[in-house]
């Protein structure tokens, strides 16, 4: 893998319109890089939650679980991609599933880049300086949302308005997927229960 490919995410976050265009149309995006960015975000999120300074860290150390944290990063990412793909397929989106994953993955770069430094800095700030920490946290988030917006727009060749609507709808679809998932599990549970009850009835009576 050339150094060019590793530098490319940095180019994308500062020049999103060109960057995302080339990602899709000039094959500069790599799925592996998108997924490793996701992995890096998960790691930096764990580090941030665990090691952020006392003044800004309200987590209970005994309740932190790295696997849970992983779940809270990876699961929403996958949900977003699936929901977005399902939706844009119906809404004349040009993006393939691969494009969506790459665009979303490359948008995560600001989060990865900002989380680690602010985690280090947060150990050296007082409560009075804590607003700066939150400022940078918000900047990272807003930057990510902006990149996601540009990335989605580019991947599907949408207008700005349509992109906003799609993104909001994607959130709703994510909710629906979660709901269906829970429903499915609950039904499966009931079936299992039913079968096992019948089994025991037969065992006891026959």
């Amino acid at each position: 893998m050339s150094i060019e490919l590793l530098k490319y995410p940095l180019y994308v976050i500062f020049h999103p319109f060109n960057g995302f265009w080339e990602l899709k149309n000039e094959n500069k995006g790599k799925l592996a890089i998108a997924l490793s960015l996701l992995f890096m975000l998960a790691i930096s999120n764990i580090i941030k939650r665990q090691m952020a300074g006392f003044h800004v860290n309200f987590n209970r150390p005994s309740e932190l679980n790295s696997l849970d944290e992983l779940k809270f990063v990876v699961l929403p990412f996958l949900l977003w991609c699936v929901a977005n793909w399902s939706l844009t397929t119906l809404m004349d989106g040009e993006g393939k599933f691969r494009d969506i994953v790459i665009a979303t993955g490359y948008s995560l770069v600001p989060l990865v880049l900002i989380y680690i430094p602010i985690t280090i800095i947060s150990n050296f700030i007082t409560l009075k300086e804590a607003p700066f920490y939150y400022l940078f946290e918000s900047i990272a988030l807003l930057w990510f949302i902006y990149l996601l917006f540009v990335g989605t727009m580019n991947a599907h060749q949408y207008t700005a308005g349509k992109t906003v609507i799609t993104m909001l709808l994607t959130l709703i679809v994510m909710g629906i997927i979660v709901f269906l998932g829970l429903l499915f599990f609950s039904l499966v549970q009931q079936i299992v229960n039913f079968v096992s009850t019948i089994y025991y009835e037969i065992i006891f009576r026959v």
Binding site: F54, H55, R60, F124, T126, L127, K128
Partner: protein, 487 residues
């Protein structure tokens, strides 16, 4: 393997016997507090029940639904024995001095009818909320009648205002504050001459969003038949040395059942603890569940106050900053437990709880743990932080999970400029505000000490780089010159 099981059994049995050590005072008492995370954590008992006093043991006949208790500045104890409409005055050794069951008013024999509240001023004037007679009666120390204060008369009273005084308190300026049954306008305030002046410190109305929604949909006729949004009434009051009024409300699931009112009726209770003083933080929901319901409150001379929860028979004690210090007491049938606890008073370091249905007073004695906590809070209130820290260390020796103690010690360390140690203690006490203060000073200290070294190091490095570059350039120049010389 068998060895391991044997060891396990031994450990288990030790643990169990440790949990259920029988206490000589009948009911076993184990205290708890709420941690920073809002979880109930076991703590040593701060108070254990001692004597139980009833009318028969005093030789004055059994109490009949006693409802209020008061200790005056001379440590005389007053029991308002409502069912027998009498006041019993005792000295600190629980010897009856006087029983007042009637008095001469304008030459006529008069009696109380279902009195509910009693208060005694610094110069010995006894005020009784004579509920069913709808008046406040002031008696002198010898039981003779001084005056009575009748129902308030004013234009500001709403229609259908019924006056049933329940509790009474009198401040240093002889203003009389009365809690009325069903009066949600606030405390009824009379001036020194017994004239009604105003309502003070009304509780805020709590509006349920859902109720509000339905109300906004309904017609006027429907609305009139719906329950009105009205603020809750007070259940009791007490005065501290500064003349501020501590009140309790019996509202369910309220976040501010305890208030400290200033003369203009504004709540100025300090809520600097992990949670605002509200009794239990964890409770079940449902018919028998719900938050603590406070019936009485007692404030002592160093701002520490104890509120009595009638529902679970628990006494919650807070420091003047609003830190929960300890919880004790419970409902039960053994000695040292309550059925319907209605009043609480303090005499010295002892705490007394009056039980209306059991017709008795339970006296609680502080344990060593309780004494140390009281001591630490008192010393801190008096500004003696270092001695206070020593008392907190004593507390930690009995209960290492007592988070407030760490903050107390941290404050003393901070005062002594031992910033780094203070930081450690504040972290253990989960106080971000104080930790930040200590850290700010510590950081300044480190920078002051190490900045010189850091700058020297940095400039040395810069110098080194410059020298290196210079040498490199010289060498290159020489090399170039050499190369050019040999064509």
């Amino acid at each position: 393997m068998t060895n391991k099981i044997g060891l396990l059994m031994l450990v288990l049995s030790l643990a169990i016997s440790g949990l259920y050590t029988p206490v000589s005072h009948g009911a076993s008492q184990q205290g708890y507090t709420y941690s920073y995370w809002g979880e109930a954590v076991p703590a040593p008992a701060a108070y254990v029940p001692g004597r139980v006093i009833d009318g028969n043991s005093l030789g004055i006949g059994a109490f009949n639904s006693p409802v209020d208790l008061f200790v005056d500045e001379k440590n005389q104890i007053y029991v308002l024995d409502s069912g027998n409409h009498r006041i019993i005055i005792m000295n600190a050794a629980w010897e009856p001095i006087r029983v007042i069951d009637s008095f001469q008013r304008n030459g006529v024999q008069d009696q109380f009818r279902n009195p509910q509240g009693i208060f005694v001023t610094g110069n010995g004037a006894i005020y009784v909320a004579d509920t069913d007679n709808r008046r406040i009666v002031e008696l002198r120390q010898d039981g003779s009648f001084e005056r009575e204060i009748g129902a308030p008369v004013s234009d500001v009273l709403r229609q259908g205002f019924e006056y049933f005084p329940m509790k009474v308190a009198v401040d240093k300026a002889n203003r009389v504050y009365v809690v009325g049954r069903g009066v949600f306008d606030g405390l009824i305030e009379f001036d020194a001459d017994g004239k009604f002046t105003k309502f003070t410190g009304a509780n805020r109305v709590k509006v349920d969003v859902l109720d509000y929604f339905w109300k906004s949909l309904s017609t006027r006729a429907q609305r009139d038949r719906l329950e009105q949004f009205i603020p809750v009434e007070f259940s009791n009051l007490d005065l501290d040395d500064g003349g501020f009024i501590y009140t309790t409300t019996s509202e369910r699931n309220s976040l501010t059942p305890i208030k400290r009112l200033n003369p203009s009726g504004i709540d100025i209770l300090r809520r600097e603890g992990y949670y605002s003083p509200q009794g239990d933080l964890q409770y079940t929901f449902g018919t028998n569940g719900g938050s603590s319901i406070f019936m009485d409150i007692d404030v002592n001379e160093y701002g520490m106050y104890s509120a009595l929860d009638i529902k679970n028979g628990r006494i919650f004690t807070y420091s003047d900053d609003g830190d929960l210090l300890y919880v004790f007491g419970k409902i039960g049938k053994q000695a040292g437990t309550f059925k319907v606890p209605v009043a609480i008073e303090r005499i010295g370091d002892q705490m007394m709880v009056l039980d209306r249905d059991m017709n008795q007073i339970t006296v609680f004695e502080p344990t060593q743990f309780g004494q140390s906590v009281n001591e630490a809070v008192r010393l801190y209130y008096e500004g003696q932080e270092e001695q206070s820290a020593r008392a907190w260390e004593e507390v930690l020796r009995t209960n290492a999970n007592y988070e407030i103690a760490y903050i107390g010690i941290g404050k003393a360390l901070l005062r002594q400029e031992r910033n780094q140690e203070a930081m450690e203690y504040f972290k253990l006490g989960m106080s971000r505000t104080y930790h930040s203060k200590a850290y700010e000073r510590y950081r300044k200290e480190v920078l002051r000490d190490k900045l010189g070294l850091f700058l020297t190091g940095a400039s040395a490095l810069v110098l080194l780089v410059m020298v290196y570059r210079f040498v490199k350039r010289r060498r290159k120049a020489r090399l170039d010159a050499y190369v050019h010389r040999t064509p």
